[in-house]
Amino acid sequence: MNNNNSIPPTPASPKPVAPVSEHTAGFSGYFPTWCPGCGNFGIWQALKMTFNKMKFDPDRLSIVFGIGCSGNMNDFLWANSFHALHGRAIPNAIGIKIANHDLPVVVIVGDGDCYGEGGNHFLHAARGNHDITVIVHDNRVYGLTTGQVAPTASQGFKSKSTPQGIIEVPVNPIALAVSQGATFVAQGFSGDMNQLVELIEKGVAHKGFSLVNIFQPCVTFNQINSYNWYRDRIYKLTSENHNPRDLNSAWQKSQEVTEKIPLGVVYDVDRPTYTDSLPQLSGKPLLDSALNIDLAQFINDFV
């Protein structure tokens, strides 16, 4: 039996399109399917506002999405994008950057994706100071797979996969990034969109590996780390209480994870990026190098 005849043709369901304002024009895709009240909405709006503010062109912006509720933003945010496998968005992004270092490259992932499945890539991307911006949706839970524990969950957190409470202590994303050589590390909250725009813009503008870890309450599967839970604990880093160019100060701030939680730029230093350290890329992007090459010198090595 021919497959084409076995199933009556169904018209593609029309997808509602997201509202477009002067702040989000050009990047708005379909209207999100996230739960009402999801912290992802704030991050989504902040990203579109940042890209417009930075006058990016969707054709000339590359976004790599991970897999999870955050990764589903692939259909809600228009840009030249690669929708990766779970855990593997960072190496895809590094490859894009190496191929064309003129393109801004942004990675949109969740905490399970980035610190769990893809944890190894995260460490090594920080070490290499690859010029990409990693936006992590940190909600301390797995949403898309319906509520198991994430590596960022507080010790003792009960979930479908840890009904007696999780035994491990949580990953500390900020300390991890600072200690492994990231050159820009910031923390935001999806309930504060104005600050998010500021942090994402600084992260994307930064030359080198940048992390923006964003607290993003999951209203469906995490009843503990709610908007109010965060609001009771967060405070802003200012020039009075912190110097982001000072490693010791950054390290101290990275240890504030329970009572008081800092928001803002935790660490910001300069180091040559991976692509800037390759002489082969000093003239033009790898993409633009000629493919034909005189082979004689290479052949003669074997005579």
């Binding site: 593609a12 840009a79 990766a84 190496p91 895809n92 190894n120 082969q280 052949i299 074997f302």
Partner: protein, 578 residues
């Protein structure tokens, strides 16, 4: 006909491999054909290393069992390999280091040459790493080769070192040469006469040839995680990266390797990765990602004996069916398996074109035997190979600008959609790991799913129509027996055939997937008798051909000891089965 095998053995870490490499290179420069085969354990120091170089004035395809000259740098080499030396052959060893009482001398007429390597080193205050040049000097004399060619090779080899080191190495070679000259009996006939017409040849390994071809093909990104037998490809390309404008990335793991390459390819750069079975196992999920996102990639899969860590430094063809089935879900992939360095060059260049034409993963399946063995090949074959860089349906900015709407996964007759690169004006799209529609957006609608599955499957049909190559028949069509094999087994089969031209012919598969079922079946049906020859225990090509054609293969020569098949084993099997 001149046909000499020199075998050199000793402890790992004493430059045995370099000795063999230089010997093969010198023979090639002198106009001879050479083929190298080495055996070594997965250790850095200690352990037993041997390398053999077969030198002939006619084309040589593989190693052979019998040895003409055995050079022993330790007792183990003598006792393990003396029995391989044929009547009238020579064994060179250090009488001061290797006591006579411990030697198991074979019961045939051999010439024993005593070269006191260690005391020569001590007397002339040379370092232990120069021992291999004393050995090379000794071999130069035994072969009747010109010491000046060795000296030139030493100067090249140590080009970055200071003059004192070069001089000392040249002295070591001279001492080895002179000592051997003194030791040799009167009337010894030198083995390699000076040739009049010297045809320029390369002396190159499979790994180096794949690397050279990737440079020729415009590969601009190579990523790998070290793993025998493909590490030398990483080393070669890393050494040439700045010269050819390639970025070579040793990534943190194999999962990162393939995903970086997919990112680079998505962004428009020709990309290749290399690994072996264990590393490839880690990449498999992302092979599937390449399939659904329709991202071109060339994957060099160098086989070694598994399962798991297996025998890291030995050879096998145990991963054909693994590669064939790698990746969850259904999508087309292309499998190519070169049989020698010439094929490695041509198929690697082809692989880059096929990857971009069909926007899907293309595999170059090799093994330790092909990738680590050096062999000589006419320079003119490589220089004269004409090819075009074909990027398939990759759109130029001009072509893209003419489109009213760009759809990355457009349904087309041949299954291949136009590809734009991020950054181009009007290129907006997503490469999506989820099932998607023509515009790249996620879709779980049944009709969209069916159309995209059929579109991807169609690429295999298009490949069979436009680019598939039938297996090549070597030898006389009318012989009573046809050997069937793939990849590096070509070497011992053609070697065996060079001696017995009318006993059998050989059907060589280098295009392994997709296969044209009808053509292959009708071709196989024309053979009177067949013998399947494979370097594995499961007759994996046989299984594949049975799956495709329904034909069964009764007679098989299968070897899975971690060693390559020898031409002698093929001839034994044939005389037994005919």
């Amino acid at each position: 006909m001149i046909d000499i095998t020199v075998k050199i053995g000793g402890e790992a870490g004493f430059g045995i491999m370099t000795t063999g490499l230089l010997l093969g290179k010198i023979a090639t420069r002198s106009g001879y054909h050479a083929f190298e085969y080495s055996e070594y354990p997965s250790l850095i120091r200690g352990g037993h290393n041997v390398i053999e170089v077969r030198i002939s004035d006619e084309k040589v395809y593989s190693q052979q069992k019998q040895v003409d000259i055995l050079l022993c740098l330790n007792l183990e080499t003598f006792n393990k390999h003396a029995s391989e030396v044929k009547e009238g052959g020579i064994i060179v060893y250090d009488t001061e280091k290797i006591p006579e009482s411990k030697l198991n001398k074979p019961d045939v007429n051999l010439t024993y040459v005593h070269v006191p390597f260690v005391s020569i080193l001590q007397e002339h205050k040379l370092s232990t790493v120069m021992l291999n040049n004393i050995a090379l000097g000794a071999l130069m004399h035994l072969l009747g080769a010109d010491l000046n060619i060795l000296n030139a090779a030493i100067v090249e080899n140590f080009a970055r070192k200071n003059q004192e080191i070069i001089d000392k190495n040249i002295l070591a070679a001279k001492l080895g040469y002179e000592k051997t000259q003194k030791e040799m009996p009167q009337g010894y006939k030198l083995k390699l006469p000076k040739l009049k017409n010297i045809i320029p040849r390369l002396y190159i390994s499979g790994n180096e040839m794949i690397g050279l071809a990737s440079i020729a093909a415009g590969c601009r990104f190579y990523a790998a995680y070290p793993m025998t037998p493909t590490s030398a490809l990483l080393h070669y390309l890393a050494s040439q990266a700045q010269n050819c404008g390639m970025v070579v990335k040793h990534a943190e793991d194999e999962i990162s390797v393939i995903n970086m390459a997919l990112g680079a390819s998505f962004a428009g750069v020709r990309s290749m990765i290399g690994t072996s079975g264990g590393g490839f196992a880690l990449m498999v999920e992302s092979v599937s990602l390449a399939g659904i996102t329709e991202t071109p990639i060339v994957i060099v899969m160098g086989q070694r004996p598994g399962p798991a860590t297996g025998m890291p430094t030995w050879t096998e063809q145990g991963d054909l069916l693994f590669v064939l089935h790698a990746g969850h879900g259904e999508f087309p992939k292309i499998l190519l398996a070169p049989g020698d360095v010439e094929e490695a060059y041509k198929l690697t260049i082809t692989a880059f074109n096929l990857a971009e034409i069909y926007q899907t993963p293309v595999f170059i399946i090799g093994d330790k035997y092909l990738q680590e063995s050096h062999q000589s090949v006419e320079k003119s074959i490589i220089e004269g190979y004409k090819f075009k860089i074909d990027r398939g349906k990759l759109l130029s900015q001009e072509e893209l600008s003419k489109l009213t709407e760009y759809k990355r996964y457009l349904i087309t007759k041949d299954g291949i959609s136009p590809r734009a690169i991020p950054g181009m004006k009007g290129s907006l799209h997503q490469a999506n790991s989820y099932a998607h529609g023509e515009d790249g957006h996620t879709s779980e609608e049944a009709d969209v799913r069916i159309k995209q599955v059929e579109k991807r499957n169609k690429k295999a049909q298009t490949f069979l129509m436009n680019d598939f190559q039938m297996p090549v028949l070597y030898g006389n069509r009318q012989t009573p027996l046809t050997l069937i094999s793939w990849g590096s087994v070509k070497a011992p089969i053609l070697q065996a055939m060079s001696k017995f031209k009318d006993k059998f012919n050989y059907l060589h598969f280098s295009y392994l997937w997709p296969l044209d079922k009808i053509k292959i079946k009708s071709l196989l049906s024309t053979f009177k008798k067949t013998l399947l020859v494979e370097n594995n225990s499961g007759a994996q090509l046989g299984q594949l051909l049975t799956m495709v054609t329904g034909l069964e293969f009764e007679k098989k020569l299968l070897k899975y000891s971690g060693r390559p098949i020898y031409p002698e084993e093929i001839l034994d099997k044939i005389s037994f089965s005919t």
